[in-house]
């Protein structure tokens, strides 16, 4: 009896294990399993919050400068230049810096005015892993353009 019970239990455990493994593997990829910060937001929902569902086209007007390989993910310099006039009624309204795989996808929203003279913004951000950095630019006529570049991260910066 003992042996039978033991085998029964073993079967139950292995069955559980087989059921559990795929969900656990999926859970590893899903961001829900990771510890999240106070402002956890996925890339898609962040992009949606910025554009309100409007289409965002890749544009050569936006030049995004990031290093191809970042040895230290804690300090990744990001520079955005927008080739667009800065006049009273036609200017770069905002530059948004986003990341695709960080716990919180949003890094900075910069609201510009014609007083700036040029659509330019530079800062340094943290990257947890190898991912894309995206610059979404809003023009004063309500259209959105973007540029994205991949950054290889050797040591993650969000620990």
């Amino acid at each position: 009896m003992k042996r039978r019970n033991f085998l029964k239990n073993l079967c139950a455990v292995s069955a559980l294990a087989t059921v559990a493994t795929p969900s656990m593997v999926m859970g590893k990829d899903a961001p829900k399993q990771k510890p999240k910060g106070v402002n956890a937001m996925s890339y898609d929902s962040a992009l949606n919050a910025i554009t309100g569902g409007k289409p965002v086209a890749d544009s050569p007007k936006v030049s995004l400068t990031v290093p191809e390989i970042a040895e230290n993910g804690a300090v990744v310099p990001v520079k955005v230049n927008v080739d667009h006039p800065m006049e009273e009624n036609n200017y770069v309204k905002a530059i948004h810096i986003l990341t695709t795989k960080n716990g919180n996808a949003r890094a900075a929203d910069v609201m510009l005015t014609p007083m700036n003279g040029k659509g330019y913004f530079a800062t340094r951000i943290k990257l947890g892993s190898t991912q894309d950095v995206v610059a979404v630019v809003e023009l004063s006529d309500g259209t959105f353009i973007k540029a994205s570049k991949s950054v290889k991260v050797t040591i993650g910066g969000c620990g």
Partner: protein
């Protein structure tokens, strides 16, 4: 760190500029920018989130750039924007963090004509 002791700096590049020139205004502040995910190595306790969440660049009291910032920005952050010099004035940068700490830094704008 008490609010008064936080170090910050405004740099205008290039150093010599004229009215009508487009200059870079760099703002650097010593701030931990904690994400709320990191643990203290000695005690094992999670360091609470502390990051700058809004910055306003003003020229003579009139805001020309406003920013919303999240914890993704690096420790001791640096922000750089452009400004078309309209003449003499005073640049003020005001910033607040998520714990409500407020601070500001000013620098005079002196174009050499």
């Amino acid at each position: 760190m008490p609010a008064e002791a936080r170090k910050s700096m405004i740099k205008i590049k290039p150093k010599k500029y004229k009215t009508g020139d487009i200059v870079k205004v760099d703002f650097i502040v010593i701030h931990p920018m904690d994400t709320g995910l990191k643990k203290d190595k000695k005690t094992g306790e999670v360091i609470p989130a502390k990051y700058i969440d809004s910055i306003t660049f003003k020229l003579d009291g009139k805001p020309f750039t406003t920013m919303k910032v999240w914890e993704t920005v690096s420790t001791n952050p640096y922000f750089s924007v452009n400004l078309k010099v309209p003449g003499k004035g005073k640049i003020t940068v005001e910033y607040t963090d998520n714990t409500g700490e407020k601070n500001s830094k000013s620098k005079k704008l002196k174009p050499k004509d």
